[in-house]
């Protein structure tokens, strides 16, 4: 750093200019340190989580991931129940949230007049601002009982021939968890879709309309084709959020050590199992196994997230080139 202040081109080491330069160098140094620290933090998080899970990783190996077991008495653990719970709740949430989000985004950009669209967009944003623990409180005390009393009997009547929709009705289970997750990811995906649709060049859609397409045909043929990678990224971001949500799910999913076929039955996701049992771990192996679940969750959600970021960046590059 001192070499910078002894620049031979400078007219002589006056005290004043030296002080000013020092300020620049210092400020730059602090900013660099902050940026480097943030990058290092990401690596440190991954290292620390895996380090804590190590007793279990060492003991059970990779087969932990596809073993269905959670037996504190025999000190034998596996993650399959929770991986299954995480994937099934998140995929259901995604299947419901994606069409709803696209529909909301279309309503806001194509159908509603500006005067109506702005306040509704704000309200959908506010839905994302509700803390997950409050949504979980509502989920366990109000929504779950409603699902058990009305939605699940109806689903069994209509779709009961599928084993997924056949079983005892519970107030807390996989279905209310998936629905609460849907509520959490709709605002995220619909906000991204809205921006994508709003930025679709008007002349493209207008061209389709001028050629005699109906509004929907121009949306499906032009807008969707244009926004498809962006929609994929939005869906991935929503999926990452659904995978990682622990609290609201822990409140409404009920908790279970085993996989049940029925969506009505209690279950657990990776996040919900950690949140509900972190205090009760008695043996080092049990605690290590809980944190192993955390490590699996970290890997899954980081992969989803990085994939989403790459889709977004490629899409942006492609659009700038076009």
């Amino acid at each position: 750093m001192t070499t910078v202040t002894h620049d031979p081109a400078a007219p002589g080491p006056r005290l004043e200019s030296r002080g000013i330069r020092l300020g620049d160098v210092l400020f730059r140094g602090v900013a660099v340190a902050a940026a480097a620290g943030t990058t290092a933090l990401l690596g440190l998080i991954a290292y620390k989580v895996i380090e804590q899970a190590w007793p279990s990783i060492e003991h059970f190996g990779l087969s932990f991931v596809w073993t269905e077991a959670w037996d504190p008495v025999k000190d034998n653990y596996g993650a399959l129940t929770f991986v299954y719970g995480t994937v099934v709740t998140s995929v259901i949430a995604l299947l419901l949230a994606t069409p709803i989000s696209i529909a909301i985004a279309l309503f806001l950009t194509e159908i509603a007049p500006r005067r109506v669209a702005a306040p509704i967009a704000t309200m959908v944003e506010l839905l994302a601002a509700i803390p997950s623990v409050v949504l979980g409180l509502w989920g366990i005390l109000v929504f779950g009982p409603w699902v058990a009393r009305h939605l699940e009997p109806w689903l069994q009547d209509v779709l009961g021939f599928i084993p997924l929709f056949d079983g005892t009705f519970y107030q807390a289970g996989m279905l209310p968890a998936a629905l609460v997750l849907t509520i959490m990811i709709v605002p995220i995906t619909s906000a991204i879709c809205r921006e994508l649709f709003a930025r679709t060049p008007r002349d493209l859609t207008d061209g389709a309309l001028a050629l005699g397409s109906t509004r929907w045909e121009s949306i499906r043929g032009v807008m969707f084709a244009y926004a498809a990678p962006g929609i994929a990224a939005a869906v991935l971001l929503g999926l990452g959020r659904a995978f990682g949500e622990a609290i609201a799910v822990a409140q409404v999913i009920g908790g279970s050590d085993n996989i049940h076929t029925s969506l009505f039955a209690p279950a657990d996701t990776l996040g919900s199992r950690i949140a509900s049992q972190y205090q009760g771990a008695t043996t080092p192996l049990q605690q290590g196994s809980l944190l192993y679940l955390g490590a699996i969750l970290m890997v899954i959600s980081l992969t989803t997230n990085v994939a989403a970021q790459f889709v977004v960046r490629r899409f942006e590059k492609q659009r700038r080139a076009a």
């Binding site: 623990v133 949504l135 949140a275």
Partner: protein, 299 residues
């Protein structure tokens, strides 16, 4: 064009078939109806949740709620201890996160090359996607093991969640500060760091505040990181941040799993207080965002 309309799937192809116009109109109408229905459903769920929290929480909303700590066994009580704990922990997390976040953003927009800035943007976005509960596990392993829980560790965990949100918001607004402001200042012989500090940051302050307010609203409701760092706390009002302090989200989480109707009522009241705070912060964010736009348009 050729990229987005694969051969054989030309969207304009449809228009050649002029028959079936009635059916196409019907499709159009019913899909429009579904779109409206979806928007109504989203707004309806929001109204339902907010309405339920208001309706169930308002009964327990009295002065005691803000002056008394949580009751031990079914007596009368409030949530003052959790409220104070939340304020202290969120306040500390702001003190940890905001300076670092602003510095990272300054580095990205004022110093870093395009490649480095792009990489840092990816780092921040990935950090933003790390599940809150994983951050909790991280801080548990880094600090809590061997030292025990403390409000400071809780604040550190929340600041990790806040950092990428504030840094991205700041960087985005720094990028739209006009070049002419920087060049004018530098041309007058002002050093780079003084230019950044006295010229660029003040004109970006509206955008930074918007980011801060949204981040605060979000971390104030975070439960998962606090479960590992500041959850095992007494039901008593305390200002000692070196020990675990109770917080609103953790209190709501515990109340929500209680079979006792009295505790559930406390949960609704705490939820009402938390939601009110989050809504106020979101309104503030809108106001700051408006200020940012005016300011940048004015310059």
């Amino acid at each position: 064009m050729s990229e987005i309309t694969p051969a054989g799937a030309d969207p304009f192809d449809i228009t050649v078939r002029s028959n079936g116009l009635g059916r196409r109109r019907r499709v159009e109408k019913s899909l429009g109806f579904l779109a409206i229905l979806s928007a109504v459903a989203a707004v309806g769920v929001l109204a339902l949740v907010l309405g339920t929290v208001l309706f169930k929480g308002i009964d327990s909303l009295n002065l005691n709620l803000f002056t008394e700590p949580r009751p031990l066994f079914g007596q009368e009580g409030g949530i003052a201890d959790a409220l104070i704990g939340s304020v202290l922990i969120v306040g500390m997390s702001m003190a940890f996160a905001i300076p670092v976040a602003v510095l990272v953003a300054i580095y990205m927009s004022e110093y870093a090359s395009v490649r480095v800035a792009t990489f840092l943007r990816l780092v921040l976005d990935v950090l933003n996607g790390v599940p809150a509960i994983v951050v909790g596990i991280f801080v548990f392993g880094l600090l809590v093991v061997g030292h025990g829980q403390s409000a400071v560790y809780g604040a550190f965990a929340l600041s990790i969640l806040m950092l990428p949100m504030v840094a991205r918001a700041t960087q985005e607004v720094l990028d739209i500060v006009p070049r002419s402001q920087r060049e004018g200042s530098l041309a007058l012989g002002v050093t780079k760091w003084r230019t950044t500090w006295n010229i660029i940051l003040p004109s970006a302050i509206g955008g930074i505040l918007t980011g801060v307010v949204i981040a605060v609203a979000r971390v104030a409701g975070e439960t998962a990181p606090l479960l590992f760092t500041s959850a095992i706390a007494a039901n008593a009002i305390s200002l000692d941040v070196s020990h675990a302090l109770p917080t609103l989200p953790v209190a709501i989480f515990v109340f929500s799993e209680s079979p006792d109707p009295g505790e559930q009522a406390m949960g609704w009241a705490a939820a009402l207080v938390l939601i009110a705070f989050v809504l106020v912060m979101n309104v503030l964010a809108k106001i700051f965002a408006g200020r940012k736009r005016r300011q940048l348009e004015g310059s």
